[in-house]
Amino acid sequence: MEKDRIRNFSIIAHIDHGKSTLSDRLLEFTGTVTKREMVDQFMDKMDLERERGITIKAQTARLNYKADDGKMYVLNLIDTPGHVDFSYEVSRSLSACEGALLIVDASQGVEAQTLAHLYTAQDVGLEIVPVLNKIDLPQADPERIKAEIEDLLSLDASDAVLTSAKEGKGIKETLEAIVKRIPPPAGDGNKPLKALVFDSWYDNYQGVIIQIRVFDGVIKRGSRIKFMATGKTFDVDKVGVFTPHPRETAELGPGEVGFVIAGIKEVRDTSVGDTLTDAANPAAEALAGYKASKSMVFSGLYPVDSSQYEDLKDAVVKLRLNDSSFTFEPETSLALGFGFRCGFLGLFHMEIIQERLEREYDLSLITTAPTVAYRVTKTDGEVLMVDNPTKLPPPQNVSMVEEPFILASIHMPSEYLGAILKLCEDKRGIQREIKYLTPARVLLEYELPLNEIVLDFYDKLKTLTKGYASMDYDYLDFRVSRLIKLDILINGEVVDALSLIVPSESAYARGKVLAEKMKEIIPRQMFEVIIQAAIGAKIIARETIKALRKNVTAKCYGGDITRKRKLLEKQKEGKKRMKQVGRVELPQEAFLAVLKVN
């Protein structure tokens, strides 16, 4: 494959701005996917993604396009996941490209989510092609939006492509822009193999499939390859490309994007961002930017119905095959029984995993409040990592607790600066820098305890800036903090799964609002329920849920019976999602009440 006939590109867009639809049109226009087999939004594979309108697992497709210059080009569309938890994965996918389409809704303009990815794209040196989509809408105002792109993003938008992906307008112009404006890949086929791993997943039939972008050298069947970070070696069984259906090819050379199957059993052997090289003739150095993926957020996952423990175990083992950033180990809770302590990249990742477990494996789960891993030094000098509040040793045995800090980079329109500064201060942040990128845009850098991010920082950030802020973060270090354990008691018994580690100065306030929130969440029962918050033996808050004394004493005749039975069945289903702790039924949300406290 001639390098100058290859274009590798990604699409950067805000959630509803039409990335999936435009991807589909590109596939359709180039005949990559026929109309008949075109399931709407081909690029978003999983149901979950379709429902949330978010791409979680990166997909690629190879498009063959005959350009106006009469030549055939291979355009590799590399999809990217769309959330802050996956920012590292996004940066790796973008690193596999030379350019990116920046899609902006011609009626709504630039929105926050676009920005983080755009900055990443610019960081890795991509050529950005602005595309104004939804020009068919009556309220579309391309000129205004172009000006906005130039102001806010400092990009030249004068020759932005105008499209309506929905109506199929501007698709050819988009393809031409990709050919003309995005540079072809560089690279040398005679050098030792150097390929970037930007995605991998487990396939029941083939084992692990990895997606790569070749920079130098050639990879083919029979090559003995080595992952430079892990040092593991494998023999290549197959190489190929996604069209988007997988198709085997003889080899993949410089600039090409495709898949490799090499008898790899576990996804964790194939870290995203790692460099693939020739085992016998390795490259001198790996591609820049590799980071080992690390769980930052932890929570307990328990089956509501204890008899589903084995099913949950099977499910987490299977999910782990496909997601190396998800970790788990068995744990036991007095209140919840047998379950797993799981590690995630972030809160969103946690929600996705929980939803997948419930949906794909038909499980009903309790997720306990997310926490970070604290470094605890005991009075006897022992150091331990505590990722579960119940494991925090008693105060008299603790000499020091340290918590992880991150460096958050927050981009936002300058009008929101005041509100966000206050938010960061409230969350125990330490300001590092305020940078005005343009008079209208600010980059704020704050050092923050990860624990605060885990709780509700991201939601608050979005709310306070009407969604216009974007945030990225990097792990910094562990710092000493004054932290204590806050317990919740239900009818006098500590429910271990509800315990939290909180900064001591806000423990009272947290305990109070948490007890209030629990009162809202827990439905009335046939007896009185008392909720207490405690620090050690000291009760700091108390709420009472009065016993249920009356339902409606409604009639029940012919036509009412079916309706009533269905209502009861529904209530019974609802109860299946409740966990019996002692005699009290706690709904799933009760275990995440801390996330709902404002």
């Binding site: 046939m526 004493t553 029940c556 005749y557 012919g558 019976i561 039975r565 019974k572 299946k576």
Partner: protein, 393 residues
């Protein structure tokens, strides 16, 4: 405990829905339309056509006794005695010789006079259920009722004079603005009429009704729970003093006057529902089947004319559903309860095999568990929904 007029297991009930009203009450979510003209003759003809088609289709043995006929609404008493009589004859003719069925007509006080009442009796109605709802003019007005308390009382007396002995009265409690004193007064007045049957309904706010909207926008305030509980308890005591048996969560009657028709629903007796939106139930084959008609009267009549039926939906019960239903309905009957032998005969298992939290509920005083039956206590009756939904969990 007298269960003399509990329906015979091999008989069948017929329900006729008359979906017409003079005006629509703001709390009501029953299937009814308030229109100027009532297509009485056409509707009555449809009901009979539907009945005959159904008897044929379901293969119902006419030798089987007809246990009850019930005209509900809407406001069935907007129909003329002649129309009601025509339906009664059409439905009872051809059924085997049996003791006379209970034939109930729901009556709105606004729609009757001495002549019409006399007419209904001659047409074959032998039981009236008078929808008084309240005996306080202020509350009646709030409920959107067109009649006064006096008119309701008059309707009752006229019905007696017209020769009806078996008369029931419907009352509502938990009404916005209703005080406990007012409720006691209403009960006292009602009891003085010596009704054979009393149905009591706590106001339930249904979505989609004017009351539902008022509640949502905050302009309707419900009574505190404690007051409503007190009202229910007061009613239980007052009616007990008057000799009424609290035989179902919402129903009280003098011994021998339990509603045959409604008892049929709670005991799983077959019932053919005729008219717009009516529900039917057949206990066999299998674990039983329910179906229901198109709601809208015009649509109902068009379909009957065209097809002989107006079925809009149906469900075939599975054993789990049928047995859960049987437990739920059984518990509603506060004197009979769930009878172990009957349950076992039908489902092959004992109620406690399904009713997992029986012991716990018994310990809490919600349930009385005897050798023969499982019965809800008054304390349990108050939170029956909660118990039902917990029953099987």
């Amino acid at each position: 405990m007298p269960a003399v007029n509990m329906m015979k297991m091999n008989s069948i009930g017929v329900y006729i829905h008359i979906p017409f009203c003079l005006s629509k009450c703001p709390y009501c979510d029953f299937n009814s339309v308030a229109s100027g003209s009532v297509p009485e003759a056409r509707y009555a003809a449809c009901v009979l056509k539907e009945f005959n088609a159904c008897v044929g289709k379901e293969g119902i043995d006419r030798q089987k006794g007809l246990g009850s006929v019930y005209f509900g609404g809407g406001t069935p008493s907007v129909f003329s005695p002649a129309a009601i009589g025509g339906i009664i004859r059409g439905v009872t003719d051809g059924f085997g010789p049996q003791e006379p069925a209970e034939v109930t007509l729901e009556v709105n006080p606004d729609t009757v006079d001495a002549g019409r009442l006399e007419g209904f009796r001659k047409a074959g109605v032998n039981r009236l259920s008078i929808g008084a709802q309240s005996l306080d003019d202020g509350l009646l007005k709030m409920l959107g009722r067109r009649h006064s308390a006096k008119k309701a009382l008059n309707a009752f007396r006229m019905a007696r004079e017209a020769g009806f002995e078996n008369i029931g009265i419907d009352l509502m409690f938990g009404l916005p603005g209703q005080t406990l004193a007012l409720w006691k007064e209403t009960l006292k007045t009602a009891v003085a009429l010596r009704p054979r049957h009393v149905s009591l309904y706590g106001l339930t706010i249904e979505e989609g009704t004017p009351f539902g909207r008022l509640l949502k926008n905050g302009s309707l305030s419900l009574l505190p729970e404690e007051v409503e509980i007190e009202m229910y308890k007061t009613a239980i005591d007052t009616l007990a003093e008057a000799g009424c048996v609290h035989y179902e969560i919402s129903n009280f009657a003098l011994p021998g006057y339990f509603s045959v028709h409604n008892s049929g629903y709670w005991q799983g007796i077959d019932c053919i529902g005729l008219g717009a939106g009516a529900h039917s139930y057949m206990s066999a084959p299998g674990w039983g089947r329910r179906w229901w008609n198109a709601l809208e009267p015009e649509q109902y009549m068009e379909r009957i004319a065209l097809l002989g039926n107006a079925v809009e939906g149906s469900e075939t019960l599975k054993m789990g559903e049928a047995s859960a239903e049987s437990l739920m309905l059984g518990l509603r009957m506060l004197t009979k309860g769930i009878v172990r032998s009957e349950f076992k005969q039908r489902f092959g298992i004992l109620p406690e095999d399904m009713f997992k939290r029986l012991k716990e509920f018994e310990a809490e005083g919600y349930i009385k568990n005897t050798a023969d039956s499982i019965i809800l206590t008054p304390k349990g009756a108050l939170i029956s929904n909660e118990l039902f939904s917990n029953m099987l969990a």
